[in-house]
């Protein structure tokens, strides 16, 4: 069993992804 959980530091996270942006589009994940 090989875990996929590899928590990154906040700095790494912001550098590699837009995960902190939290900007909703019109769909906001609720419909297509």
């Amino acid at each position: 069993m090989k875990t996929l959980i590899k928590k990154k530091s906040a700095e790494q996270c912001c550098a590699t992804a837009q995960c902190c942006a939290k900007i909703s589009s019109i769909v906001a994940g609720c419909h297509d």
Partner: protein, 458 residues
């Protein structure tokens, strides 16, 4: 010692371990990674996700676990009572988190539009042609300032098409943006992009959170699907608008609405965006919208994808054209999040923001739960003009919709990755708001983990 083990449906009991009943968690999602011999197990409640070899996967299928301690530590094998307690605790966390979340307030200044898109879901709406008055705009701002006084919020200007030509339209949009700026409220705009370049000076008067623009492909494909009313191409002007917005520092969210007619154009649009330098710009992001029947049937429904079918096709395209991922990385349920963040998102008890973190106001003074319902007769939950009214009973029905109130979600192992889907779609399909709009979580994870974790070989 198989003889010492007793299982229920997913039950597992090993007298030699700790004399406690451990069952296979009802929130486990287990499947085979697409195009791989490897498997995955993922639990949105415990927040764990693992790749499994075929041998380990066989243990799960046969309930003959050899790594009981690890499975227990990761929440794959659980004491049901303890898991139920965790489910309730995390539900309370979810409600607290949502309470503190930013509210997205849509405002529709008019339903008029200069485009004639082949799939417009607002086509059958009764249009209000009266011009937007200053009185309505003032009433809107007075209402949201008071009703959402303790909330972080932003306004999304929607339509119809908000950025139309003409002095009247420009003055109205400028008034909305200026009033929002005076109150420190950021603004997003959802536009077809045709007049975007002409509106950049007006947008600069506010704090622009995002401009959403749609291109359905490169020039020929886009122009055939999204022409001007009465005919006329639109692609080049939209591209000019996107370029201008990026130069001015406005975040752009490019949406491509997809069905079978244009999906094969995705690699070409991706190359176009890459060549333009858009994909390297941190202000630029993308989304894919599925063309689907929201409130009414479309004339050519054969071209529409079901959700899983769309993602199957995207998977195939990405395998053939990996550079598409530079343009857009589909979510594939929680797969992309897991890849980007190295952890799972918090359990999703609800994926419908209507009357919770989303509201929609329109030029006629009506209030709706969300963008899917705004402008549709009979969907209003109140008014802000000329008088203020609230349908408390209907609002309560929307507010209380989540996986704990949708009966069909109760026994579903996918509920905390799905969230119950869109309330409007669910009600259109079943007549009940508290019904599920199921997401094909299982196949999405099978494909997504394959794409983002190299078939489980990472």
């Amino acid at each position: 010692m198989p003889g010492a083990r007793h299982g229920g449906r997913y039950g597992y009991y090993d007298r030699n371990v700790n004399s406690q009943m451990k069952t296979f968690s009802k929130h486990n999602i287990f499947g085979r990674i697409r195009d791989s011999e490897n498997y995955f197990i993922l639990n949105p409640l415990s927040g764990n996700a693992d790749i499994l070899t075929p041998e380990k996967a066989r243990e799960i299928r046969e309930k003959t676990y050899t790594d009981v301690e690890e499975y227990s530590a990761k929440g794959y094998l659980v004491d049901e009572t303890e898991e139920d307690r965790l489910y309730k605790l995390k539900y309370l966390d979810f409600l607290d988190e949502r309470e503190s979340n930013e509210v997205q307030i849509f405002f529709v200044p008019w339903y008029a539009c200069n485009f004639s898109c082949s799939y417009c879901y607002q086509e059958g709406y009764a249009k209000e042609n009266a011009p937007l008055t200053e009185e309505v705009i003032n009433a809107f701002f007075n209402y949201i300032t008071r009703e959402f006084s303790d909330k972080k919020k932003y306004i999304t200007i929607f339509g119809g098409e908000p950025l139309l030509a003409g002095a009247g339209a420009r003055a109205s949009i400028e008034r909305i943006i200026t009033k929002a700026a005076e109150r420190g409220i950021p603004v997003a705009v959802v536009t077809n992009g045709y007049y975007l370049a002409d509106y950049l000076d007006i947008l600069a008067k506010g704090s622009i959170r995002e401009v959403q623009v749609t291109l359905d492909g490169v020039r020929g494909v886009h122009d055939a699907r999204r022409p001007l009313k009465g005919g006329g191409v639109t692609f080049d002007r939209i591209v000019e608008g996107i370029d201008g917005a990026l130069v001015r520092g406005f975040p752009v969210n490019l949406r491509m609405v997809i069905d079978r007619d244009n999906i094969d154009d995705l690699p070409e649009l991706a190359e176009f965006a890459i060549e333009k330098g858009w994909t390297k710009n941190p202000l630029f992001k993308t989304q894919i919208g599925r063309n689907y029947e929201l409130h009414r049937c479309q004339a050519d429904s054969a071209r529409l994808f079901e959700r899983a079918g769309l993602y199957e096709k995207l998977y195939e395209i990405i395998r053939q054209h990996p550079r598409v991922l530079e343009f857009h990385r589909p979510a594939y349920s929680v797969s992309r999040f897991l890849s980007d963040n190295g952890e799972l998102p918090v359990p999703l008890y609800d994926s419908c923001p209507g009357c919770k973190s989303e509201w929609a106001f329109d030029c006629t003074g009506k209030i709706y739960p969300c963008t899917a319902t705004v402008g549709k007769d009979g969907e209003e939950v109140g008014t802000f003009y000329p008088e203020e009214t609230k349908r408390e009973d209907i609002i309560e029905e929307w507010e209380s919709r989540d996986v704990t109130t949708i009966p069909e979600c109760a026994g579903c192992s996918l509920q905390l990755a799905c969230g119950g889907g869109c309330g409007s779609v669910a009600r259109n399909r079943t007549g009940r708001l508290h019904a599920p709009d199921c997401r094909p979580v299982q196949p999405l994870l099978e494909m997504g983990i394959s794409l983002y974790f190299n078939k489980g070989n990472e």
